[in-house]
Amino acid sequence: MKTHHYLTSGILEAYLLGVIAEKEKDELERELATDPDLLAQLDELEANMEDYFIRNSVTPPPSVREKIELRLSETEIEKWEDVNTTEPNPKAKKSQSTESPYVQVEIDDTHIRVHKLWRTAFIAVFILSKVFLILGLYYYFKSSSLEQEVDRLKATTQSTHSAPR
């Protein structure tokens, strides 16, 4: 009987919409805790109400999602900064107290970073080394062939002078 009263009085609808008075709300919640049938009816009504609001839903413009994402990111950054400033690591505190102009960071990779001018310098040194290598080889072979030529001429001259007249 009481369940029927709740079902037709509009109290359940008002409760789901959040427009019910505190006194009636407390009374209904007490009843819901002891009456599983009423609870089942409330669930069914909630499902119907959801259908109504889903039918009346309006897709917001994409800019709203972007704004929420942006504000969430900003909030996370603020939280991150707050945590970093309020609870400093003893090691970090020690390093900061040395007043070094550099910030010490943990690096896990094996690469180093150098100024980009080093790249040009390295290429120039590489090309020059190749040029000098080629020139060195060229003059080495040239001198050795000249030596051979000199030796051959010396041998020819000696054989000419020593030949019987």
């Binding site: 037709t8 009085s9 509009g10 109290i11 359940l12 609808e13 008002a14 789901l16 919409l17 959040g18 427009v19 019910i20 008075a21 009504l45 909630e46 119907n48 109400m49 959801e50 109504y52 609001f53 889903i54 009346n56 839903s57 309006v58 897709t59 917001p60 413009p61 800019s63 709203v64 999602r65 704004k67 929420i68 994402e69 504000r71 969430l72 990111s73 909030t75 996370e76 939280k79 991150w80 945590v83 970093n84 609870e87 400093p88 690591n89 090691k91 970090a92 020690k94 390093s95 910030v103 010490q104 960071v105 943990e106 690096i107």
Partner: protein
Amino acid sequence: MWALKQANKPSISQEALIFMDKIALYDRYGSIAYGIILHVIPEPELAQKVLVDLFMSPQIQACTEIPTTGEIIRLARAKALASKTVSNNSSLASTALIATNDTTDLAKLVFNLSFCQGCSTDIIAEKLNLSPTNVLKAFYTYFKYLRSS
């Protein structure tokens, strides 16, 4: 090596989860909430601002754990009513003037005054010359009408 990172602060993965939860919640309930807010505040620009505020509010955090449409409906309505300008609140009198004797129209009017305008049951009863019981009954009539239509 010294590390500026700290071991005892909230983990990044936890923060990222909250971030993703809120976005997922928005993807799922954003259109429902926007529909409700537009119901209460029929100005798209202000409604969008309220929608952003709603999904940034601490109350929505509770919904990210066990999301229910009912909770979103109540939060969206409450947020929209809180952001509604004072000038809009005076619409009760003008709305009451168009009250009719038709049960469905009356139920629709009560729903509008209560859900969209934020008027309490007692105020509606007084303005429409109804008993508080009949005001509540109007909610039942309105949703019964919606189910049958």
